[in-house]
Amino acid sequence: MSQSTSMRSLIPVILLSAVAAPLLALQTQTSPTTPPPAPAKQDPKASVHKQSDGERIFAQNCSRCHTAPDGFSQRISGTVVLHMRVRASLSQHDEQELLHFLNP
């Protein structure tokens, strides 16, 4: 890769990083976090736990591609669900159930 091409690629990322860095710096560990979502590949036979709609939707749509995160702040649960609504083409009902599941 030539130096000029490298420089061109670098500029937008530097600017984005400049915006993101202060935001990262403000991040604290004190915000409330959601409990870890239900295990991605839970065995229904191994538990008497009744699966809610939201849990089922999480397992069918989110865990189909990736493992569940260990947990995250409740303040981004709406953003996470909106992202999944777009990326996984969730229905409106599924979006609401998923949001309820992440914020019981």
Binding site: I11, P12, L15, Q27, P39, S73, T79, L82, R85, V86
Partner: protein, 351 residues
């Protein structure tokens, strides 16, 4: 041709406009309870030993997602990759190259329960790998499938518009769709080809089975069609996943099938045994002719991958695999190891 300095200022101007447009929207979200913008993505350190030569690859893929109200989401992902590869020939030592660029930057508007309108630089919705599995923290194996380039129009992203959503959602089945049009762009960060296409998928929740078809058409130069189909199956009450895909273009075709499994027999998925994840993938590509460039090997190729991943706590995974690749240009052993970490947190401090 413009000088590097003028190009630099042009790039700064374009990026500043985008940044200045997005930041005020981000700021308005500060008070929203659950809709704080997030920073997510993955980082990792990967190694590949191919034909006896080892390449080292540190990588970061940050993703920013910022909602505006309840119907609009701005999101983008970038990739920062440094590659350390051994010098060619008899020379000793390593050289390194780097790549930094936007993977996508899009705005999505949820227009109705069944329709989302996406504009900007978006991932081309052909098959499943590009949209679902390409992030470094998701993929079970370091390498993408050999046919991953078919239908992605060279750049894997389009610059234009996309319509997508859930067409039907019932308890017994659901159908989702995506259709897009992309204009041609030679911009370094928003490179794309003039093309159109889409994907439709049927999902059966009871059997955890998904079947989908994809279509794409290159609308510039020699116009070409691409078709594909995918089948994903995740049997209920197991931690087994089967993913497969077939794609065909004017110049090449191929398929891949991947299976992974985590046992629950020794204390569940979070036990030290349950965190192991064996992975197997087999794939074949068939070259029809060499008239076009689709990212597929110029010769018929077969490859099998045997992987063993370990899912550590705190969103960290260790990836290891061995692959044997067969081709008329020579057979190869490919050893890969890596560690990847996924992060996900609010973009700023909460109250």
């Amino acid at each position: 041709m413009s000088s590097p300095v003028s190009y630099l200022f042009a790039s700064i101007r374009r990026t500043a406009i985008v940044t200045l447009a997005v930041v005020p929207f981000l700021a308005t979200q500060h008070a929203a309870a659950q809709n704080t913008p997030l920073l997510s993505g993955g980082g990792g350190f990967l190694t590949t030993t191919n034909g006896g030569k080892t390449t080292y690859l540190p990588i970061i893929e940050p993703l920013v997602a910022a909602p505006i109200g309840s119907h609009v989401l701005i999101e983008g992902r970038a990739a920062l990759v440094e590659t350390f590869a051994p010098n060619s020939g008899d020379q000793s030592g390593y050289n390194h190259t780097h790549f930094i660029g936007l993977t996508y930057l899009q705005g999505a508007y949820i227009a109705s329960p069944h329709l989302t309108v996406v504009g900007g630089d978006f991932l081309i919705p052909f098959g499943t790998y590009n949209e679902r599995l390409s992030p470094v923290w998701i993929n079970n194996l370091q390498d993408g499938p050999l046919i991953a380039g078919i239908g992605l129009m060279s750049s894997a992203s389009g610059l234009g518009g996309e319509l997508r959503g859930s067409a039907i959602s019932r308890s017994k089945y659901s159908i989702d769709y995506t259709a897009y049009f992309s204009a041609r762009s030679g911009n370094v960060q928003f490179n794309s080809e003039r093309s159109a296409g889409g994907r439709a998928s049927l999902y059966l929740p009871d059997s955890r089975l998904e079947i989908g078809v994809s279509y794409g058409r290159l609308l510039q130069g020699t116009q070409e069609n691409f078709v594909g189909t995918h089948v994903w199956w995740e049997p209920k009450a197991t931690a087994f996943r089967l993913r497969s895909e077939y794609a065909r273009g004017q110049h090449a075709q191929g398929y891949w099938a991947e299976a992974d499994y985590r046992t629950q027999a020794f204390g569940g998925l979070d036990s030290w045994v349950g965190r192991f994840e064996p992975v197997f993938r087999m794939q074949q590509t068939f070259r029809i002719n060499n008239l076009g460039s689709d990212g597929v090997s110029s010769h018929d190729t077969q490859r099998v991958d045997f992987g063993l991943d370990y899912n550590l706590p705190h969103n960290t995974r260790i990836l290891t695999s061995y692959a044997r690749q067969f081709s008329s240009t020579g057979n190869r052993n490919i050893w890969e190891t890596g560690i990847v970490y996924r992060f996900l947190f609010p973009a700023w401090k909460g109250k």
